[in-house]
Symmetry: C2
Subunit: 598 residues, 2 copies
Amino acid sequence: MSTPYTAPLREMSFALKELGGLDAVLAQSDGSELSADLVEPILEEAGRFASEVLAPLNAPGDREGCRWQDGAVRTPEGFAAAYASFCETGWHGMPAEVELGGQGMPTLLSTAVLEMWKSANHAFSLCQMLTLGAVEAIRRHATPELQARYLPAMVAGRWTGTMNITEPQAGSDLSAIRSRAVPEGEHYRITGTKIFITWGEHDLAENIVHLVLARLPDAPPGVKGLSLFLCPKVLVNADGSLGARNDLVCASIEHKLGIHACSTAVMAFGEQGGATGWLVGAPHEGLACMFTMMNHARLNVGLEGLALSERAYQQARAYALDRVQGRGVGLGPDGPRTIIGHPDVRRMLMAMKSRVEAMRGLAYYTAGRMDRAHGHPDAAQRAEAQALVDLLTPIVKAWCTEQAQGITALGVQVHGGMGFIEETGAAQHQRDARITTIYEGTTGIQANDLLNRKLVRDGGATLGRLLREVQDEARGLAGHGDATLRAIGDALLRAAASLEAATAHLLVRHAATPRESFAGAVPYLMLCGTVLGGWLLARGAEAAVTQLASGSGDTDFLAAKRSTAWHYAMNVLPEAAGLGEIVCHGAASVLALDDAQF
Amino acid sequence: MSTPYTAPLREMSFALKELGGLDAVLAQSDGSELSADLVEPILEEAGRFASEVLAPLNAPGDREGCRWQDGAVRTPEGFAAAYASFCETGWHGMPAEVELGGQGMPTLLSTAVLEMWKSANHAFSLCQMLTLGAVEAIRRHATPELQARYLPAMVAGRWTGTMNITEPQAGSDLSAIRSRAVPEGEHYRITGTKIFITWGEHDLAENIVHLVLARLPDAPPGVKGLSLFLCPKVLVNADGSLGARNDLVCASIEHKLGIHACSTAVMAFGEQGGATGWLVGAPHEGLACMFTMMNHARLNVGLEGLALSERAYQQARAYALDRVQGRGVGLGPDGPRTIIGHPDVRRMLMAMKSRVEAMRGLAYYTAGRMDRAHGHPDAAQRAEAQALVDLLTPIVKAWCTEQAQGITALGVQVHGGMGFIEETGAAQHQRDARITTIYEGTTGIQANDLLNRKLVRDGGATLGRLLREVQDEARGLAGHGDATLRAIGDALLRAAASLEAATAHLLVRHAATPRESFAGAVPYLMLCGTVLGGWLLARGAEAAVTQLASGSGDTDFLAAKRSTAWHYAMNVLPEAAGLGEIVCHGAASVLALDDAQF
């Protein structure tokens, strides 16, 4: 049994326009021919591909998984054909620049399209994500020769890309990386073992381009001694044709909780003397080059949290509308007999729906600011937008993925006992989502990044600007003519006050008691996400009320926008006060025990 | 790789004495020979069996799972031998009455022992739980002849028991049950299909005694037309020897997210004309008979939430103390390099530890009240204790199992990428825990029971008495000489005020707007659990401070008790205010959408 997926086009269009700032993004478009009337057809086409080609492979791919034999990995049935079609139709290279063979689509629009791939088939979608991340790192940091030799095939999807960072002793702590690179003429000999390499080996493409963090012989210790190398699985001749196999091999793949259809490889470099690699970027600056990939990947992983939650919501909604199991309390004899009539089932569905929309709001808002940071004609606007993107990146990554844990679990819960049976498909979404709070930097790493590099480093300036915007809008709503919007505005004001207090607390105390402020970093990040998600839902509700008043648009849909924001304001924003208290008063007790007392 | 488990004997003894009221339970002991100085040896012996026999089979059992072939089920390697040893050593029958061949242990003490089985091997432990539940139903409701024929072998574990309730169309809604029973002489012919039958078929014992809900020909519709029948897998001769196979078969077993080592069977009754069954209890009163099993099972499933959380905590703690991965911020060059030095890792471990202890407090407190309800010499005390147990049963069941979702997920998170790899074992605890919020009545069912039957029905009298006790103790702590206890008392007073307000709201509004109050039932149950868990931790902290002041006991352990309660007060109790707001103000928006707007 494979559960269907339908791209939520109406929701996406609304979020693109009202929260992502699509019109402004299209208006600043720099010579690319994308006109506004192409947006809907692109989304519809992508939705069709996601529903018809990728989604049906999701459950079978989970069941079959990848299989390793003698260094080769066989992907589940149907994946190779789907991948070939994905590349042929141009979806693979779509987000990449036009000069590289892509379609130069704004990040905002490609974010909506990527959401679809991730909802339809998370495991499949990771291959494109990794490849385009590698494309970005090569485009920015590699020599023109390397770019010319590798990028066209990678953008087209004929060759895929990977990030080789983690080693058995070096996970979150990259300073412990031991892989070595020794110069030999124009290239290097790479040796070492890398683990957790997503799509590190497979049968979808004829070559795999590994980007590998390793140390040169004269490298200083720590993260400042890491350099980045390009190591193809198959060496590439000067004319672009494929040559001999490189000295690297997939030693095994992991048996994982989820994303079974993508290989998570242990890669052994240089067992025959050294894999041939080329330096990308300057020596000892590998970490900065890698972060080019990483920051983009972090936003995309946040998007996975949204996408898996959306898929879980669709499945739970379909089950609740179909499953007959007693009439809900307080419904008359003619009331529906499906479980959506039960107040607690509605509670679960509303919790899923309103959080999904809040996540989509935050992800698309951030994507829209990325376009502004790249393409706005005014430099000051670009800089301000970039600061905002930097601030929001860890929040989108960690908040959306943590939300996804609870939402996909609710998806199982709505199914009752059937949710625990693997054939139902609900459990897969929860298993697949489990990795998203871990890879590309755990939730704890994101929270440290938010606190240390994004909040404290600029003295709270960027967060303060954003918070004032939230508070101004909340005050406006609190005085609105619509009673529901007033209730939303009041709730948002209270939640924003908690964020303001927690922020002030951390800024004052961080220097003196850094261990305490880091102990409160994750609750602080969750507080930021909770408030910002509520703000964007409130913004959407106000737009919906305006459209309702003007008599335009789909009345049911717009009224639901208002109700959903109201739900979030009354059922999610109340968590903000508690989170604020935890940040301000909870940390000392977190650190109260000795190691031996645990 | 199989992860070790060590029974937390010091924690258990503390909770038994200070929160479960062990001394009072032993003092009221009615003729059974259990003396206080046997308690520790029993716990130690049980702990050894759990660690040495059951825990090592947990991960291999998960990997191998149960296998079905031609109606028979083969359990994983080692399970049959462990089960035989479990029965021979008397652990199987230990909680049962002495006159049945058990050891008549107080529920409080057997609760601690059952916690160990569940921590060590959740799947294995379910077999004993189901069997003893069936024993209880037969002992209370079946004829003396049936009791004599079945109980001795069941208490000894030579035969196991099951509950056959669910059918494909009848999950939470038992009124939809269709299985039929037709009288034939002194027995009945049973036909129908039952699903989700835990340990419904296996190779551990020579017979399986199924208790089956079915309808007599003259049964009224709905739940008042259900009768309970005893249907053995193998018919039992008058002399107690085994006869022919009954007309019932395991048609298949489910492929589940977790508890792979126990079979979850589809049972087909009467495919050859009708399984032979005997009526248990009066006709049409099967539901009441079944609830005898169910209420006990609900407390035991709550205990599973605690037990799996404890196991996950032990594993995460061991990893955090062992894994070297960068030195924690603010630690000097001589500080530990293991990840427990990182504030965020400590945050996760403290969140696990303090919630585990709160859950243990609530579970043991309830178990102690069960003993009082059964054995207190004063009838009024017995009645009051029983009312408390009835109130607390859905809270223990649903709150502990919902807590377990987050705690076992944190267990994975502490492991970083390794947590997602199945060999690590952390993911199994999360997968196994996933069923606990579903079976024996979902969280939503428990919340409805709490609201409707336990709160509203007595006008809030029982909850009110308990809440006043909480508030009195909190006020006492708020004026204590110990500053940490004062902080705990203040936090508990605030949280209790939220519970008081939410309770008043529901009592006032339930009759007029039942759909709204049911929409707030789960948040209300979580609020109850949060406050009561904090209360019992606070009570433990006060006892620890008293012992510290007297100079008795283990200083480090007692100081940790205070710190852990403080952590909960500062990091978990702040959630209460938000939950209270959601109960009082959130429900209308939960119900705001039409079905079509989802």
